[in-house]
């Protein structure tokens, strides 16, 4: 449903950030973007969500060029869940989710009762119905991620792009967020997740795109990509994949010092 073909992007012409990235996101799947800092994950996400226009290559949404969508149209299909941040003003959880209704409303319109109901339902489906009047900034990091997922649901989009949802979260919160993502994927939503935690990719990804300096190092099913050789090449660091009962269970760097 979302396809990218040979994407190129450069903030400065002499230093391209993306050099020929292609990928395909299928319905109900989770696609992980892995790679070192600065390899172009965030830029790729921005190109896919329409925030940036790739200088060459195309992004197609349901077979149509993403550029032909109006911003509101696009936002009804693709949602972006930014990295953990604290807004300047402390809105209630419900208000945050309600903002997902923006692409469905006219510029001068305020949300109606129906919009509130959709927002409440979205909160319900991430298990935070009781939190709706709480101040957003008083939630834990994991809860905030869930609220932003609920906002994507209220947006009624079928594709959610998550920028490092596991950053700054403890294991419990990471697990809570990822389990919810997995359940939503099972219900037919699709996710593209950029991450610095390959272990989560090991557990939840259907596809993995391993990036290095703006190019695709490897792309495919996790069992083919999350190998010691490829990961070592991607992170430029000796990496070990620990297996148990014939299954890869953990990805850890090898200790180099004494």
């Amino acid at each position: 449903m979302l396809e990218a073909e040979n994407l190129h992007y450069a903030y400065k012409p002499e230093k391209p950030t993306l050099r020929g990235i292609s990928l395909t996101l299928r319905q109900g799947t989770i696609l992980y973007l892995l790679g070192r800092n600065g390899c172009g994950k965030t830029t790729l996400m921005s190109c896919l969500s329409g925030l940036l226009r790739p200088q060459s290559g195309t992004v197609r949404l349901h077979g149509r060029d993403l550029r032909s969508y109006t911003p509101a149209e696009r936002a009804r299909h693709i949602g972006l869940i930014p990295q953990l941040h604290t807004p300047a003003f402390n809105y209630s959880v419900r208000e945050m989710v309600l903002m997902g209704r923006a692409p469905h409303l006219g510029l001068l319109a305020a949300p109606s009762r129906g919009d509130y109901a959709i927002a409440d339902a979205a909160l319900e489906s991430v298990g935070l119905a009781d939190y709706r009047e709480r101040p957003y900034t008083q939630l834990s990091g994991g809860e905030r991620q869930l609220v932003l997922i609920a906002r994507g649901l209220a947006q009624e989009c079928r594709i959610l792009l998550m920028d490092e949802p596991d950053a700054h979260l403890d294991l419990n919160n990471q697990q809570r967020v990822m389990e919810r993502v997995a359940r939503l994927a099972a219900d037919g939503l699709s996710f593209i997740i950029s991450s610095h935690v390959p272990n989560n990719a090991l557990m939840y990804a259907h596809r993995v795109l391993l990036m290095k300096r703006g190019t695709t190092l490897a792309y495919g099913a996790p069992e083919h990509i999350l190998t010691e050789t490829l990961l070592t090449a991607a992170y430029e660091l000796p990496i070990e994949v620990i297996r148990a009962e014939e299954q890869p269970r953990a990805i850890v760097p090898r200790k180099v010092s004494g």
């Binding site: 109006t70 807004p87 209630s92 903002m99 009047e133």
Partner: protein, 351 residues
Amino acid sequence: MRLITSRAWRRDAAAVSSFRRQLAYSSLLLPIVLILLSLLLGLYNIQPQTIVKALLSLIFPQAAEGISATELTLILRIRLPRVLAAALIGAALAGTGAAFQGIFKNPLVDSNLLGVTSGAGFGAALALLLGGTALMVQGFAFGFGLLAVMLAYMGSRLYSSAPLIVLTLMGILIGSFFTSLTALTKYVADPLNTLPAITFWLLGGLTGVTWNSVPLLAAITLSGSLFLWAVRWRLNILSLGDAEATALGMNPTRLKLLIILCATLMTAAAVAVGGVIGWIGLVIPHAARLLVGTDHKQLMPMSLALGASFLLVIDNISRTLLPAEVPLGILTGLVGVPILIALLRRSQTVW
């Protein structure tokens, strides 16, 4: 410490939020009540029933019978336009302050951020220097207010990165530039007549307001407020930043430009009539936030209503406390700064 279970929290919070909504909308009645009360106040002693009759005479001319010309003039030509101007200017400054705080994601700014007041101040000083009429002073103040913001905006377009920071910086630069120009006009102004005129103007005041100033001020303020009211929910989204607003299907740059334009028109009109009246744009949105929370859906009407009410009260003090008028800029500072300090202490957790 009361332990709040999630269910109790939900119920309490729901009650709070519906209370806030009601509060925000009912607050709009406050300026209307205050306008009527303010008409009763004045140095010249006029009986309340005379005031009611005078007001009725606007609709039924025969109601004016038995009222002296002096009283009729004072009520309808002096108090009424002045009270309306105070309410409009207060609403404009507070509403635009709330809008600017939203789009600049910064609770410590007001609509002078991009230099509109400084520009307007220079425009007025220049007109006074050129020996202009009251109308020319208002026109220059309005025009230079717009010019300052336009310069700041165009200046920020020279840089592609971090547009909000650059715009803020440009606003501050352009603002100080015009403040320097104002100082220059004061330097070359004739100390006999022009200099005191400039100084008084910069302190702000509604002493000379008559019906001449009200129609344009009302048209700009009311239509501007209507626009800010309409986009009040979008302000919530804009305050999250451009990336999220874009991801939510909006064109944040265009909407912000519209809001800046609208707020600048409103502020320039307000400053043109009332001179430089500080602190309202900063203090009132904070007070409103304390009452109805950060949600701009409630914050915008509350700011408009509180701003109108605040300036009405301040102006009532200004025009009745002493035989001589106390400049508004001084009063809003004297009253506003302590309030702001108190609010900042209390509201640390609110934003």
